[in-house]
Amino acid sequence: MAVVSVPKPSEESNSKVKTIGQTNTITLRISRSNPSEGQEAAFSEFQIPVQKWTTVLEAILYVKQNFDHSVAVRYSCRQASCGSCGMKINGKPALACYTKISELNSNVVTVEPMNNFPIIRDLAVDFKQLISNHKKMKPFIIREDSEVTPESKEFIQTPQDLEKFLQFSYCIKCGLCNSACPTMATDTSFIGPQGLAQAYRYVADNRDKGKDERLKIVDDSHGIWRCHFAGSCSQVCPKGVDPAMAIQLLRGYLLGFRK
């Protein structure tokens, strides 16, 4: 018979207080700039009390509440679903709300705006091009009979059909992949891993009939061929999307390996 022993009240409270309740102080360095006013980037430093669970976003909001409310940062959901809070954290693109200070193993945390995006102010960057490239990929199911009528039936899809594109549908348009992409750094017209992965997401969906349209759009001098498989996009994606693989699979259609 299994014996389950309940910890004595004294043991339980002791261990919790020691590991969870500890407060540390870290230095948060925030890159401040305002290009429209001609203000170049400079760092502001703040001492922030943090606990084991404090996220980088919470540390930035602590600054806004207690030291300097003018820090510009975009955020909304605080749970890695809205895609607003992407930034460079100690040099790597990541979501501020999904990165705990404790996992950075450093007493100095530096936050900067994402690379490869125009800066609006401080940590907030301009998403115009990302959203417009996303729209260009026609991110919706294209088919003649998609109007719902009384005769309509659901479009049947097997779990295997779903598996083909499921991971790519988890994209939250945070732009981290585009900020990590070396082609994006010099080719301002490149569609980027985010858009290309979305093109694949719909092309690989067996309910969709817009394959030829989308392939024509990505087959451009600043389209799919400008990926040189650095793979950094897939390394930084917080949602487990693998844009680098999507690009190669999409290329398969254009090279005639896939139908």
Binding site: T186, D187, S189, D220, H222, I224, W225, R226, L254, L255
Partner: protein
Amino acid sequence: MRESIIMKIHYGTALGAVALVAVHILMRMSQKFSDSLQYQNVIANYHFLPYALMLEVLLVLLSVHGFNGLRVILLELKQGSTYEKMINYGSLAAMAILIAYGSRTILMAGMGVS
């Protein structure tokens, strides 16, 4: 031309070049390397028609591949419609010039003019 067609040519020329460069190296290895560079041997190569033709094909493959590669690098470096047009036509011209100059050498050596 569609970019996918250009890139098929790019990959195709690369594969073709691997095969032909292999033959080219094997031919060098059929004798001592220093001998292969003797004047008479070099001229003999050009007089051997199949090999001279192969060198001509290799010249075309590598000119097309190399200058298209350079075109890609330059398109990624800077954008703008005039600039991009210049790069596209410029690389075509560069391919043509290199092929013409190389063919001239192959032809002259093959016909014994030197």
